[in-house]
């Protein structure tokens, strides 16, 4: 996918500001852009959320189905996360099957959710070894304004917490039918993804599309409620020093409580 060629005047201004500990849009080095989370915007989906992070806009929807568990986890529900960058999301996006960037996006978000054990999949079993709930989570990127990883992760987290699904049971004849009751998902953690990039010698969180286009290394870390690191993805074809990585992790960890509160707040207000 071809992308933005930033003009050199702007690039120089950006790198100059960052070397002085400032950002051109006035944000602090650790400051996120305005984050808006609107859960439940697609009533037909069991769970949904639309997230705006600056100019980045992402939707996530959850559909709950039932089917056979994976053979190696017969007593667990199944979580499947897909991502698509919609062709209207930017002038560089094209219609077609997900490209490597979209697949990376889905897998990075997936690992943060899965490894934090956010959803207790042991409780999503209808008949052990035979019938379990399948959680399909689809990420649709509406506008690529930088930092898709975090925006997508927040959308998925919010959509999962927003989810209400029909409880199913197996009849004696083997068919699976609704009991008539609904339930929320068994949510036991609230992971927060934080993305940092290095530009020259400066490190910033939540890069916008211009900052992203000139970054010298990217690190996305998911943190669970205990403050543990539960998933990491280093991005961009460049090297990061150990000290730089530790600095990114530290900045991220300090940011997590604020973002977690914003996600909780948005869900309570709308929920």
């Amino acid at each position: 996918m071809k992308g933005l060629v930033l003009d050199n005047l702007r690039r120089d201004q950006l790198t100059d500001a960052i070397s002085k500990g400032r950002r051109l849009d006035g944000r602090g080095m650790s400051e996120y852009r305005k984050l808006e989370i609107r859960p439940g915007i697609i009533p037909k989906a069991e769970g949904s959320a639309r997230v705006k992070l600056g100019d980045t806009e992402v939707m996530a929807g959850v559909k709950i189905e039932h089917g056979k568990p994976f053979p190696d986890t017969p007593d667990q529900g199944v979580l499947i996360i897909n991502a698509e960058v919609l062709p209207l999301a930017s002038e560089y996006a094209e219609p077609g099957p997900p490209d490597e960037d979209a697949i990376e996006l889905a897998r990075v978000v997936d690992r943060g959710i899965r490894e934090s054990k956010m959803v207790d999949v042991n409780k999503l079993v209808i008949v052990p070894g035979k019938e379990v709930y399948l959680m399909y989570v689809d990420i649709s990127v509406i506008s690529t304004g930088g930092n898709l990883f975090d925006a997508s992760s927040y959308a998925v987290v919010a959509a999962l917490i927003n989810t209400k699904f029909k409880i199913l049971k197996q009849e004696e004849n083997g068919s699976v039918t609704p009991t008539g009751e609904t339930s929320e998902l068994p949510i036991v953690d609230l992971p927060v993804s934080i993305t940092a990039v290095k530009i020259k010698k400066g490190i910033i969180l939540d890069p916008d599309v211009e900052e992203e286009s000139i970054n010298d290394g990217r690190l996305t870390v998911a943190y669970d409620q205990e403050g543990n690191l539960c998933a990491i993805q280093k991005g961009q074809a460049s090297g990061l020093k150990v000290e730089e990585i530790m600095e990114m992790v530290k900045m991220g960890k300090e940011k997590v409580p604020e973002i977690r509160e914003m996600i909780r707040g948005a869900l309570e207000k709308n929920g």
């Binding site: 037909k44 929807g61 062709p87 209207l88 930017s90 002038e91 219609p95 399909y136 689809d138």
Partner: protein, 238 residues
């Protein structure tokens, strides 16, 4: 047959026969697109982005004399009751084509030779009549992109449920009713640019159904105009 009309002559959602579902339209909300629009009509929530005219040489399909119009109608996986696979279905491919054919007659594509105009339609949530709502919204997005056009295209479905002709079918009316007849029209010239039908109508009923659709299209056209006025001339009025 399912009972879709009550004794008082009202439909399941309380509408009269010639009444549209609640709708709202907005122009120009995507920052990076040349033009965009959003429509809600009944349970439909549809976002349209137009990119172009842009160079067609790095993309397939070039016409020396005019712009090539491309259209993709796509439903998000969570837009339906049952999850929809992200791969384009045969239904989506056909709808993409008929929407393109419904919009192209309105456009003056010869102003942009060797270029391409892409219309991306994303159904965030689907309900009955999503192709009509898509056309109505795409027309706003094309005007927002500054693509010259003879007229806006407005579209709505009419149908027959329990023997009555009704305007703007809901999902249930579409599935349980006898006839679905989506129509798109350029109202200035009266030219119909999309017409499809499933089901049986007599010649008289067919004629009446078209008139019913025209009435609905007029109302939708007013809303299309309002959405554009709201974006371009809002500060003029206030």
């Amino acid at each position: 047959m399912m009972n879709l009309i009550d004794e008082g002559g009202k439909r399941l959602d309380g509408r009269s026969f010639d009444q549209l579902r609640p709708f709202s339209m907005q122009a120009g909300l995507l920052k990076s697109a040349s033009g965009s629009a959003y429509i809600e009509q009944g349970g439909n929530k549809i976002l349209v982005g137009v990119y172009g005219p842009r160079d067609s040489r790095s993309r397939y399909g070039t016409n020396q004399d005019k712009a090539v119009l491309r259209c993709r109608y796509h439903m998000l996986p969570f837009s339906t009751e049952e999850r929809k696979s992200p791969q384009p279905s045969r239904r989506e491919i056909e709808i993409s084509k008929v929407i393109r054919d419904a919009l192209e007659p309105a456009l003056l594509l010869e102003e942009f030779p060797r270029s391409v105009i892409d219309i991306y339609i994303e159904v965030l949530q689907s309900d009955g009549g999503s192709r009509g709502a898509s056309i109505t919204a795409a027309s706003i997005a094309l005007a927002d992109a500054g693509i010259p056009m003879k007229d806006l295209v407005s579209a709505v479905a009419v149908g027959k449920v329990n023997g009555h002709l009704v305007l703007d079918l809901s999902d249930t009316e579409d599935k349980e009713g006898e006839v679905d007849l989506p129509i798109a029209v350029m109202l200035n010239s009266g030219l119909i640019t999309l017409m499809q039908m499933d089901g049986k109508l007599s010649e008289d009923e067919f004629r009446q159904a078209i008139d019913l659709a025209m009435g609905g299209a007029k109302e939708l056209r007013e809303a299309q105009r309002k959405a554009l006025v709201q974006k371009y001339f809002k500060e003029v009025d206030s």
